[in-house]
């Protein structure tokens, strides 16, 4: 089989020979090991290896993207020819822009740990310790998945952009259950083993589980809500997605028309980082070969920029922000600036509220307006007059993201990296306190 560089050259030359004008080829070698466990025992171990070739081609201002995971000579030849032929039968795009001209210098992000890349049995022993730690901390059963991955990629374009990137990642997603309805979530994710703390995550999950046993009654109404980083990340990833210029242009972003507007509180600053230490989404170049970088999406509450590729940038009269996505520019790693609250201080600032430690199933009634609801899961606690009173369960938060951004009352100093099953874009965020969130439950 060809190596990644050879694949890029083969596909690019083949596409040009078939009549393409612009060509961008991204070849990636992805490997993943996963150990899943539930009820304190391993359920399955997995190993996935996948070489994919993502290609963008233009011809006579017509544009097409393709993805193939047949990296053989014959497979790539067939794929490339089919792609160029299909491109030729499309209508020209009025938005067509040529690929940006390189060559470029790329910054390395150092998010590669050879121990993660090469130790295929690392996970099984770690899972054993995770379960033991959680049980020791009071849980009765633990479930989760421990995943390590490595990605090597190579990019080559007709704009003379060429670069290589490699990264590793390791993520523990663990859920602990205690008696009488208690459950807790723990998470540790990092690019290097040095930043990975699985036993802390297991302990956190178990402690939450124990503390949330025997949840008590609560009333529907308006609450101040403390979102731990896991939950804040779930909301922030939607803010990141809404900052894509494609989403703005397609009318489905609640940040449409908000450029330069104060759309959040002064304490809210959000960045997209192409390369971030321990940022699992890091890559040195985007799909057009443009170097990734730091982009300020929100600065002290003001929307500073959308995320662009070359095509959207031209339409908005901006320059690419290095976030291609040929069709849909996207964030790489979202980072919320730290606040100035300590955890206890934030708690004391709540007269009548709840702490939500985990959530899922965030769904929008009106995506453009950012109106949605989401379901807290695992440990949640009622706060009265600055003190945790008792655990609660069965909550639903119903709100709009624009309203929430304007009602952030505080952010903690401490931040955490979050990426797991419900948070696809890696987010580094503090806990966030939001005032006056509607909390509901099923009608009797």
């Amino acid at each position: 089989m060809m190596n990644l560089e050879e694949i890029c050259v083969f596909v690019l030359e083949g596409a040009l020979k078939a009549g393409a004008a612009d060509v961008s080829v991204l070849a990636s070698d992805y490997r993943e090991d996963m150990t899943r466990f539930s009820n304190n025992t391993v359920t399955v171990v997995k190993r996935i290896s996948n070489v994919t070739v993502d290609t963008y081609v233009s011809k006579d201002r017509k544009r097409i993207v393709g993805s193939s995971s047949d990296p053989s000579y014959g497979g790539l030849e067939k794929f490339t020819n089919a792609l160029v032929e299909a491109c030729g039968s499309l209508q020209p795009s009025p938005d067509y822009m040529p690929l940006p001209e390189g060559p470029y210098q790329y910054v390395s992000h150092e998010n590669y740990d050879v121990r993660i890349a090469e130790d295929d049995l690392l996970l099984i022993d770690t899972v054993k310790k995770v379960v033991e730690t959680g049980l020791h901390a009071g849980a009765s059963r633990l479930s989760g998945s421990l995943t390590s991955n490595s990605v090597r990629s190579h990019l080559l374009t007709t704009g003379k952009a060429e670069g290589s990137d490699k990264k590793t990642g390791i993520v523990l997603n663990v859920r602990a259950f205690a008696d009488a309805g208690g459950s807790g979530h723990g998470l540790s994710c990092a690019c290097q083993l040095a930043g990975f703390n699985p036993l802390d995550a297991s302990r956190t999950a178990a402690e939450y589980a124990v503390r949330s046993s025997n949840p008590r009654a609560w009333e529907e109404g308006s609450y101040d809500v403390i979102l731990t980083p896991t939950v804040a990340a779930n909301i922030v990833q939607n803010v990141g997605a809404a900052s894509s210029a494609f989403a703005v242009e397609a009318g489905i972003s609640f940040l449409s028309g908000q450029l330069g507007e104060k759309t959040a509180v002064e304490s809210f600053t959000l960045r997209d980082l192409g390369c971030a230490t321990d940022g699992l989404g890091s890559r040195s170049f985007d799909d057009e070969g443009v170097p990734t970088k730091e982009n300020l999406i929100f600065e002290r509450g003001v929307v500073k920029q959308y995320l662009h590729n070359t095509t959207t940038a031209a339409k908005f009269q901006k320059v690419s922000t290095g976030n291609a996505g040929i069709i849909d520019p996207h964030p790489w790693n979202l980072v919320v600036d730290e606040g100035d609250y300590g955890w206890e201080e934030m708690l004391q600032d709540v007269k009548h509220g709840v702490i939500v430690t985990n959530n899922w199933y965030t769904r929008f009634q009106n995506l453009r307006a950012g109106e949605y609801s989401t379901l807290p899961r695992d440990a949640a606690f009622l706060i009265q007059d600055g003190k945790i009173v008792h655990p609660v369960a069965g909550l639903r938060l119903s709100d709009s993201i624009p309203r929430q951004l304007k009602n952030i009352a505080g952010l903690t100093k401490e931040r955490k990296w979050i990426q797991w099953w419900e948070v696809e874009i890696p987010v580094q965020t503090p806990a966030i306190l939001i005032r006056d969130v509607t909390v509901t439950k099923p009608k009797p």
Binding site: R63, A86, T374
Partner: protein, 481 residues
């Protein structure tokens, strides 16, 4: 697709000590077109092809996948899979075993009158152009200023071999359409989808499926209704009322609160840290959870459906599963491992994988409320005050599948058995037991919507149908935003 490679992989795995081995050569091809506000975005051609191998060794389960289909690579893959299983077996609390299943040699395919591979990007774009033209109309003061339309053809081909002697080839083409429409109205901007609820119109079959979807009639008709919905400001009645739900809502409820909680792997806790568990326990077969009108089934064998198959991804012949019968939990969705745990002779063919690099797990196929014998008018006729929720946008359910919410999109007030006009965003927030216990009548109609159901780690989005007739609930609480 040749069975040589999967057969080779199974042989290698068994020679290395696997007590059971299966291999699936799995190919997916998709062509997708996207039209934004009448302008073409890049089309997309996506293909994936590779081999997934699953083995049982010393009581442990291991899955490995690669798209390097050389024999050397497959040997390494199997060796790694066996080694990983052996390593994890020493920390197992409980052996994993499969129930018996005699291997079958066969091939099957979804009905395909016009080869899906002959549908070109031009064919797809033509459909989107025509639809966009109709969506640019003025709908009584509403103009959809932003329109994001997408249509795709998909082809899934598998060759499955296992050490029990199964050798099964399959081919399933599919088509699906979805769209986002945005419009400003009186100072606010609304995004809705057609079909509503972020779902799709779709089914399995060849290019002839696109005729069956009848997009040219359905899409503008729906756009007209949604324009009226957006303009309406009437609130729903507060309090406890009777509720009639359209098939789209009945279908999603069936999927979320009867299908998902009935997945045996979820009941056993295998998905606890991801998609959650279930309010049902392993001993809950025979438990009453609803009225004697509650009938929910899941059936992979429905011709033309998104979830269509005739053999599952463990080689088990597909059949209809009756999940809830007359309000009683009748059957869970099983694979060979859970069937063994439950002491069953066979799984009920619920094992699916969406790609070569995804482990087969328990999935739904086409989940629906069974039709009854009421006409729509009969469902309305003795409702003094109520709400008819025909479609929804926002929905969610907790991770035990008990606390669920559906926010209506197209919805009407019912007074004295008559529909009296649109109402905005009625919220049905209810428990699963309350929902199914309040069901007192089912229509004789039956329609389906397509959807992509997410489960598993790593995530797998499985094509499914959700459906049902119109149904009626008595005396449930309705809220408003």
């Amino acid at each position: 697709m040749s069975s040589d490679l999967p057969a080779f992989a199974v042989q290698v795995a068994c020679d290395l000590g696997a007590e059971f081995a299966e291999a699936r050569l799995h190919e997916n091809r998709e062509t997708a077109c996207l039209l934004r506000d009448g302008e073409p975005e890049p089309a997309a051609i996506i293909s994936s092809r590779g081999l997934g191998v699953r083995i049982l060794c010393k009581g442990a389960l291991s899955f490995a996948a690669t798209n390097d289909l050389s024999r050397d690579s497959i040997r390494i893959l199997c060796k790694d899979a066996v080694r990983a299983a052996e390593a994890s077996s020493v920390i197992l609390n409980k052996r994993i075993e499969f129930c018996e299943q005699k291997g079958v040699k066969t091939s099957w395919r979804a009905e395909e009158r016009k080869n899906i591979e002959n549908a070109s990007v031009e064919d797809l774009m033509r459909i989107l152009w025509e639809l966009d033209k109709t969506l640019r109309h003025d709908y009584d003061g509403i103009t959809f200023t932003n329109r994001l339309l997408t249509i795709s053809t998909m082809l899934e081909m598998k060759t499955y071999v296992n050490s029990d002697g199964a050798q099964i080839e399959s081919r399933v083409p599919r088509i699906q359409y979805s769209s986002y429409l945005t419009t400003p109205f009186e100072g606010k901007t609304f995004t809705v989808t057609i079909p509503p609820g972020y779902s799709q119109l779709g089914g399995s079959g060849g290019w002839e499926t696109v005729e069956r979807l009848n997009l040219q009639e359905y899409v503008p008709q729906e756009a007209k209704i949604l324009a009226a919905v957006i303009k309406n400001t009437s609130k729903p009645p507060a309090g406890v009322v009777d509720v009639v739900l359209g098939p789209e809502v009945a279908g999603i409820v069936a999927h979320e609160s009867a299908g998902h909680p009935g997945e045996a792997d979820r009941i056993q806790g295998r998905e606890a840290a991801q998609a959650g568990e279930s309010y049902l326990k392993p001993t809950d077969l025979g438990l009453r959870i609803g009225s004697d009108q509650a009938f929910v089934s899941d059936d992979p064998t429905i011709g033309g459906s998104m979830g269509f198959y005739l053999y599952d991804d463990e080689g088990v012949p597909a059949r209809k599963r009756k999940l809830i019968e007359a309000g009683v939990v009748s059957e869970f969705l099983q694979n060979r491992a859970t069937a063994r745990e439950f002491g069953l002779d066979s799984s009920n063919s619920a094992s699916r994988s969406v790609a070569f690099d995804r482990e087969p797990i328990i999935r739904m196929a086409n989940t629906f409320v069974e039709p009854g014998d009421y006409s729509f008018e009969e469902l309305l006729e003795d409702v003094k005050i109520g709400v008819y929720i025909k479609s929804f946008m926002e929905w969610n359910i907790d991770d035990r599948r008990f606390n669920e919410r559906y926010v209506g999109l197209e919805a009407y007030l019912i007074e004295d058995g008559q529909l009296k006009g649109l109402i905005r965003d009625p919220i049905l927030e209810i428990t699963t037991i309350k929902f199914w216990s309040s069901l007192d009548a089912r229509g004789r109609d039956l329609t389906f919507n397509a959807a992509m159901c997410g489960k598993g780690d790593p995530m797998q989005a499985a094509p499914v149908w959700t459906g049902g007739p119109h149904i009626r609930l008595r005396g449930v609480g309705i809220g408003a935003r």
